[in-house]
């Protein structure tokens, strides 16, 4: 039997958010390749070799996976969340493009996963319920000037915004600058959500405003969502009351639609 390569998303952390098709691939694979903490989410078993590697080794990891698939192995490349959102799928295609010509005939599939932004949005309510954008704030991958340009254009377009990789020890300043740009472009009252470790035991969701937000509220396990001008809060009541719900109406002018309906 010839080999294959599957680039799969494990979702944000809970096994309850791993799709059946991804579980089936992991059960059939001979090799699992990925960043160490993601590879460790796949249980060891006889016949499975787990190849964990460090962060920032994405291209080497992709070449390793393609080489093994070409050798007839059944290889699963694992990412957290969705593999197509700032994760391993693009790295594999980068390696494929410049790699051996015969790799282009390999049986390759990308299998989607629950992305961190969708999981975080669900926990908070529905802040991404209208038009939005998704930006990786790491300036390892692009110049800061491009990040700032995109932040300002996204604010002008009145998109809600989901931010990956807001802050790391190596880049302590970038997120402070992001908050400054957003306060300038969106005003101090704009809502911001810090969703940390979504679906893990230490999950936390914090809702505040740009005025109250500080850089320390984010780390590399935090997905940050900034609302559009239309995004708003609903206070919860009762014994389970915690953070308010945050949602963005589906349409510009949705308030009147809902009000009319409930009066009818």
């Amino acid at each position: 039997m010839s080999g294959w390569l599957r680039i799969v998303g494990l979702g944000p952390g809970s096994e309850q958010q791993v799709t059946p098709e991804v579980s089936a691939v992991l059960a059939e694979a001979t090799d699992v390749v990925g960043y160490v903490p993601y590879v460790e989410r796949v249980a060891p078993r006889v016949g499975l070799v787990r190849h964990g590697s460090d962060n920032r080794e994405e291209i080497q990891r992709a070449e390793q996976a393609l080489t093994m698939a070409a050798d007839g192995r059944r290889v699963a490349v694992v990412s957290s969340g969705d593999p197509g959102v700032f994760a391993m799928a693009s790295a594999v295609f980068e390696a494929l493009e410049v790699g051996q010509v015969e790799w282009r005939g390999l049986d390759i599939q990308v299998l989607p996963g629950i992305s961190a932004m969708l999981a975080a949005s669900a926990r908070a309510g529905a802040p991404l319920g209208h038009d939005f954008c998704c930006i990786n704030l790491s300036d390892n991958l692009k110049p800061w000037a491009l990040i700032e340009k995109r932040l300002r254009l996204a604010a002008e377009a009145d998109f809600a915004m989901a931010f990956y990789n807001p802050r790391s020890k190596a880049r302590p300043e970038g997120f402070a600058r992001t908050l400054e740009v957003l306060r300038d472009a969106c005003g101090p009252e704009r809502l911001i959500i810090f969703a940390r470790a979504v679906s893990a035991p230490d999950e936390s969701i914090r809702v505040t405003t740009l005025e109250q937000a500080t850089p320390e509220m984010a780390d590399m396990r935090t997905l940050v969502i900034v609302g559009s001008s239309q995004t708003r809060l609903i206070e919860r009541s009762g014994s389970k009351a915690s953070e308010p719900w945050v949602y963005t109406p589906r349409s510009v002018g949705a308030e009147s639609q809902a009000s009319t309906s409930s009066r009818a």
Copy 2:
């Protein structure tokens, strides 16, 4: 036992992309509420009442679901894809905000699903592998002028773009105007993907350029993705060769990174 409300995503179509936590909710629910074709994806069983309703009745459907949960029922509101992306989650919160005060104490959770844009992106390769935006092209929900403004700003930001609801019988002109705006803002060579009925038996993926794209390539079952200036193709080879892979590198300048690594 008191009632609850779960707003769940069924994914784009295949049962293999429904998460275990959503399947568990559907197995425990007393009532399933949603647009008819989505409700019909939940198999009938004793003890389950399926409440299908028409499109554009989202607010009435949300009020019905909240009322039943307040009456002690276990209610699942179902959306295709992810419930937080142009789907029922925002509609439920719109109804909650203007509805009965006691609804704010209800046990409500949103459970994410594989969104159409992530499923379509996976089938094509990794076109959303760098910064991107997501726009609903229906002008039922906002004025066309705002859509055009967002398209132009997204092009200036050099986002890849995912488009929901590109075209319907009631709005045959909007997508033709979208293509005109994009050709003007992005140039004729920019890549565009038409992903129709992803994960269903009649799935089709078509990759072309803005110059070659025509409005008839999209309908209401089509998710459209337009690449950024960096998005590119990899031709496949071998007996399974079909549409080329489409991907966006993770970083501005990724090509040199991959080339360097593969030479090492």
